[in-house]
């Protein structure tokens, strides 16, 4: 390999994804290792560092061709100082990840929250296509988010920016949320939230599609709801309408304040694709200022599991440019 590369690292609860990515964002090589969660995660960065150096050697990279390393990790992070305040999944608490990686690799390192890093990946090489003003929303088990304004990730005062999943969608009588509030967007638009809406209403249509699924499988998932909606099942469609009404409302209100070029929707629920985007669009257009509705594109994320490593490499590139 005769290219210079950035190292993108995406640390998850079970695997760490890694990649060597060139200066224009093309993955030159990617691989995974197991996340060593034993003993409060004290071996994770040792494993990551050794794996990076081994792979580089095997692929014929000189050390000088590795320019910087970027890391996305779950949890609450002090980005400025490169410290993970708390990552419950990994067992880390007040862990100076940037310093340890810089010591081990003798490379500049930078770290950010995994939702922000995924947003940066989609911005750089995914659906965002280089957009400097972008919102990313991940509809998975929960609802995560990342805000990019003027080409930079917005972190906020204590690093909590991007908590789009905890925008209030149901003002009163909403379901409880892990964050301590009720009625959060997450309770009605995550995979879990959509499944909950389905389970709450499935008995109202005893002959319906979702009831059949429930009887066969013992539960109803978000995927079942979108499958039903695609087949024209009325109850499924009404759940999709309800959920996307809340999504479009939250997204439009953010867009009125931030005027993004593009809103990128990722996560498991985004596999529903065009159906999902079309319903969100209807609600978004109702609540966004007409000029903003016209100028905002809503798209499904395109990078899938690579968003994290690509976004992490983008961070590394930004850092080495400064």
């Amino acid at each position: 390999m005769n290219k210079n590369v950035f190292v993108g690292v995406d640390i998850g609860g079970t695997t760490v994804k890694l990649a060597f990515i060139d200066e224009i964002g093309t993955i030159q090589h990617k691989w995974e290792i197991k996340t060593a969660r034993e003993e409060a995660g004290k071996y994770i960065l040792r494993d990551v560092s050794e794996s990076i150096l081994t792979q580089a050697k095997e692929l014929g990279f000189k050390k000088s061709q590795l320019l910087a390393v970027g890391v996305g990790a779950p949890g609450y992070i002090d980005v400025e100082n490169g410290v993970i305040i708390e990552a419950v999944n990994l067992g880390w608490k007040n862990y100076p990840i940037q310093k340890e990686l810089e010591d081990r690799l003798q490379l500049p390192a930078v770290i950010d929250n995994d939702a922000n890093v995924a947003a940066a990946g989609e911005k750089w090489k995914g659906a965002g296509n280089g957009a400097d003003n972008l919102l990313a929303i991940t509809l998975g088990t929960g609802v995560g988010g990342g805000v990019i304004a003027g080409g930079e990730i917005v972190h906020g005062e204590i690093g909590m920016a991007g908590e789009i999943g905890h925008i209030t969608s149901v003002k009163s009588g909403g379901a409880s949320c892990n964050c301590g509030k009720t009625g959060c967007l997450e309770t009605v638009a995550s995979a879990t939230g959509i499944a909950r809406l389905a389970m709450e209403s499935v008995h109202t249509k005893p002959q319906g599609y979702l009831k059949r699924i429930l009887d066969e499988h013992g539960n109803v998932s978000a995927k079942d709801v979108f499958d039903g909606a695609n087949q024209g099942d009325e109850l499924s469609l009404s759940i999709v309408r309800d959920s996307t009404e809340h999504l479009g409302f939250a997204m439009a209100n953010l867009a009125n304040a931030l005027n993004p070029e593009i809103i990128v929707i990722g996560g498991g629920v985004s596999r529903a694709g065009t159906l999902l985007v079309n319903y969100i669009r209807q609600s978004f257009d109702k609540y966004a200022i007409p000029l903003i509705a016209k100028s905002t594109t809503i798209k499904i994320a395109t990078l899938g599991n690579d968003a994290g490593v690509i976004g992490a490499a983008w961070l590394a590139k930004q850092k080495s440019a400064h």
Copy 2:
């Protein structure tokens, strides 16, 4: 004068406010001129430039002591190119204000929307006290806003960021808004909106405080509503509660996404002071993520009419630092 200064210019529909402001944001001298609106505003910048040079001379500034000029103007602005796309109040359309000022004054010039400039002023020397993450909301005839993230004004893709007044507050059956939608925050939280809520409900309490005001003055203003609330008048209190419930909801949802250190409330309605902040706070705390509720300060703006010139000088300072 032996100090270097920036020139802050705040162009309004009837007057232009100007000031010489030093590098730490202290106003050295301020004055006003009439806005020359005749002939589609073609003399405004001539008057502004001549006035700056005359004042500088009279005060004993050498030309080299004027470092740069910043301008806040109403309307829709292409900040990057320094062009006003449209400012209906001034008669300007596709007007290259930055270039004309640079030609006339032989100084670097920068221009931004008046709401953004006021936000920057409060950030630099007002209630924001240097905060890098700040939301500013102006409750006047309409509801304006400015978003500062990571120390920079957020402009968005087509310069429309900060349209906090058009966040949807009343999902269905809301009052019509100038923007083409219904139920915008502006329709329930501007001075006009609060007066409208009062006029709609005043007849439900024929013996009440607001009905007496209506009979005496022929109408009810936002100020009357806050005066009534301060005296414990029930109808006034219920209008304040309704209006601040919407304000707190919109502000909390933005704070969940942007995590500002401080939210600054300005404009005529903000003269209601502590009463206003306390009610907004109640609603905000209900809808913000607990950690964000705890870390966000809500304050009344402190710069009054000087926010524009100070913010404009801040812009000029930023520009000359680059």
